[in-house]
């Protein structure tokens, strides 16, 4: 296994991937996915089924996408697009991923607006929103369970209070808290 600098040396060599194929993969992922878990689909399409990336490139790219701001899946679409075809590839992947669901979402929203006078429709959406909030709770709880670190939990609570309750601007809270938190992770192995 060469885990060395093979990726750094030259432009990655790929059989010229057609933009239509890239669009097809991300279009399918965008429309066929409900409520998350999209990264597993990309792995299957880009690594297992096609020679677009090897596992190491995939994992390394995914790590980058998680560190940078933005949704993982959106970031990864851009990353893979750049990797395969540069700027035009990134644009194609991103648009194919977000535009079809956006159109469907807007149509759904217009249909809903026609009926939102009906009490039942609002009540049902209250239910969907509260259930979806629970999905988010599960995501956060998993992260907390993984760390079990008191200091990290304290940082999470401080950020929650600052943004959620005091409504301090998220930009400034994160600009201050993120470097501080990364510094703590640097010092303490169990932090995170």
């Amino acid at each position: 296994m060469h885990d060395d600098t093979s990726v750094t040396t030259a432009e990655p060599q790929h059989p010229a991937v057609r933009l239509s194929e890239l669009a097809g993969v991300f279009g399918r992922i965008g429309l066929g996915s409900f409520g998350g878990g999209l990264i597993a689909w990309i792995h299957r399409d880009a690594v297992e089924r096609r020679p677009w990336m090897n596992d190491a490139e995939f994992l390394s790219g995914y790590a980058l996408c998680r560190i940078l701001p933005g949704a993982n899946i959106i970031n990864f679409a851009v990353y893979l697009g750049v990797h395969l075809r540069g700027l035009i590839g990134a644009t194609t992947a991103l648009l194919s991923l977000v535009v079809p669901p956006a159109i469907i979402g807007i149509i759904l929203f217009q249909i809903y607006e026609r009926y939102h006078g009906i009490g039942a429709a609002q009540f049902v959406l209250d239910g969907v929103a509260a259930t979806a909030a629970g999905l988010n709770v599960a995501t956060a709880v998993k992260a907390l369970r993984r760390s079990r670190n008191l200091l990290a939990a304290t940082v999470a609570i401080v950020v929650f209070v600052a943004v959620g309750i005091l409504h301090w601007p998220m930009l400034w809270v994160v600009m201050v808290a993120a470097p501080a938190s990364v510094a703590l992770a640097w010092r303490t192995e169990s932090y995170g």
Binding site: T5, N136, V163
Partner: protein, 177 residues
Amino acid sequence: MDEDTLWALVRVFVPISLVSFGGLLTTIAEIQHQTIAVHGWITDRDFIDIFAIARAAPGPGTLMVTLVGWHVAGWMGALVASLAFYVPTSIMVGAGAIVWRRYRNTAWREKIERGLSPIATGLIFAGVYAVLNAVGGTIAAFATAGVSAAILLWRPLNPFLLLCGGAAVYLLVFLFS
């Protein structure tokens, strides 16, 4: 529709995009605060509807930003809000990919990931709190979220099925009360 509103959308969503570590989930509280309290673009009701529809529709959760833009300023609003949210992070990923290839040492990557994790956790809880307050902050809303989280932590269920379940339960409660 006026140009000022479109610029205001840019001024709201570009900063949020720049610090959206962890994706949309971490930005919900700020989006709620900016669009309802600061700009008065949408009501609590709109916010719930947009959040619920974005989660129930296919595709990435970031659809919520597009729907906010659409609600505020139609198709142009949808386009502008989406670009304001996607372009800054995409540029960072493109630039990051180049730097990434140069520095293959992974020791510091792992430290950054661990450092950002508690920030994301705190922000996600802030978003949950914002949504549940918009739904009325009732015990029923908090209980629903609690049950839904518990189910998902217990079994890796398809989230879409869970959302359908939540909708069905609320519909039954509405019909029989």
